[in-house]
Structures are given as C-alpha cells and as structure tokens.
Symmetry: C2
Subunit: 129 residues, 2 copies
C-alpha cells in the first residue's frame, strides 16, 4: 500500500486515535497544515477507496478507522525507498543512516541493544520487488 504525502498526514492523525471523525482529524493535523474541511473528507474518501481506512456511520456522521496499520505503511514505504534508492538492500540503507546521521548516545545504545537482541531469532524474510 502506497500512501501519498497528503495521505500520510491524514493517516498519522488517524493512527493517533480512532475511530475519529473528519473534524477530529482536522484538529490533529500539524499546525502548518490548514486544509479545508472538504479537503480532508476528499482524502478520507480516497483512502477508503484504497482500503486504507474504513468508514462507518453514526447517524449521518462518518467515523473513520484505519485498516492499514502504521507498521505496514512504514514497512512498505521503507521497502520502496530501499528499492528505489539503495538497490533494494536494507543493509546499505542502515549503513548510510548510521554513517550520515548523527545519533545521540542514547539512540546508539538502543540500536546496539536492538541489534544484539535480535540475535536469537532468525528469519528468512526476503524482500523482493
């Protein structure tokens, strides 16, 4: 599932708490976003068509909830990026991150933690196109 930039905004707002009305979502968008109410409705309709959210009605008011999980959205966004910009490999991607972006000591520790933690379990999850 591929989300556009505007759709990410809506989904981020929706993931934070749901079910939610369009009005509530409007209230949760970043301050620098000032979309008309109908713009939000349009996005919500498109996301519903895409099966990323589900709409139900309480009276005549639409209640929205995510079908696509944040985790899945993140996963596929990362996969696209890896394919597109890093020859499909996560290794170089992470390497790039570690090398390029300065991490705080705490972040590094957490990462080390996560890295060694994962050591026990193995998985054959392959990423393909």
């Amino acid at each position: 599932m591929k989300l556009t930039e505007a759709e990410w905004q809506i989904m981020n707002a929706l993931w934070s708490e749901w079910p939610a009305t369009a009005r509530q979502i409007a209230g949760r968008l970043p301050d620098d976003i000032n979309w008309a109410y109908t713009t939000i409705k349009t996005m919500l309709t498109r996301l519903t068509d895409k099966n990323a959210v589900k709409e139900s009605k309480k009276g005549n008011i639409g209640l929205y909830e995510p079908i696509l999980t944040r985790q899945n959205a993140q996963r596929s966004a990362l996969k696209s990026l890896a394919n597109q910009a890093f020859d499909g490999a996560f290794g170089p991607l992470m390497h790039f991150l570690v090398a390029e972006e300065k991490l705080s000591g705490k972040q590094k520790e957490e990462l080390l933690q996560a890295l060694t933690e994962g050591e026990q379990k193995d998985g054959g999850k392959e990423q393909s196109k």
Copy 2:
C-alpha cells in the same frame, strides 16, 4: 531535491557511469523497464530543468551528467520518509529497521562496526523540517 520514481530510475542509471548519452542510459535501465527512447529524453529534460543533471553537447548528441549526487538524493529521500512516517526522527526509523527486517550476521556486524566507529567523532547536524 525530490525525485519521482521514474526519475530515480534515470538517476540510478546515470550515477553508475557518466557522462552518458540517453541511449546509454536506456541500456542500463532494469530489464523490466522498457521505456521509449523519447520517454527517457523527456525525463532527462525534466531532470535538467530541476537542476539534477547537466546536459552538454558533443556535436548534436546530448551528454548527461549528474549534478545531484546519489548521496544527497538518498539523504533527502530518507529525510522525507522520516518526517512523513516516523515523526521526523531517524532513531525510530532505524529501530524499526533493525527490529523488522532480518539482517544477516554480516550486516549486523557491519552495523555494529559503523555504530561504534562513529563514536569518536561527534556532530551537531540536526534534522529539522
């Protein structure tokens, strides 16, 4: 600098070796991409307009070379992704990668290496919007 999906394809082909002609770029695209020659020219023109590549002429033949570096393109793609999908923070992004994607032992080792390597030098590079 924001590249579209199609533009990434062209740029990937161009970064691999340049200067290059449109014909050469065509030859380097992934097998599953079969764009008309003029499609490639169109992309190249758009990338030139965007200042991502520079065109020069050898006779009447266009020679292209990247202005935007792969590293910079990767950096900004990652930044967008982080902002869009991970609340602007690289830490969680990496954490997600480490937790979600199964890395080979070698990759982990390289990462650990990279993580501890970076330890000496510090940097104040902050990522903002």
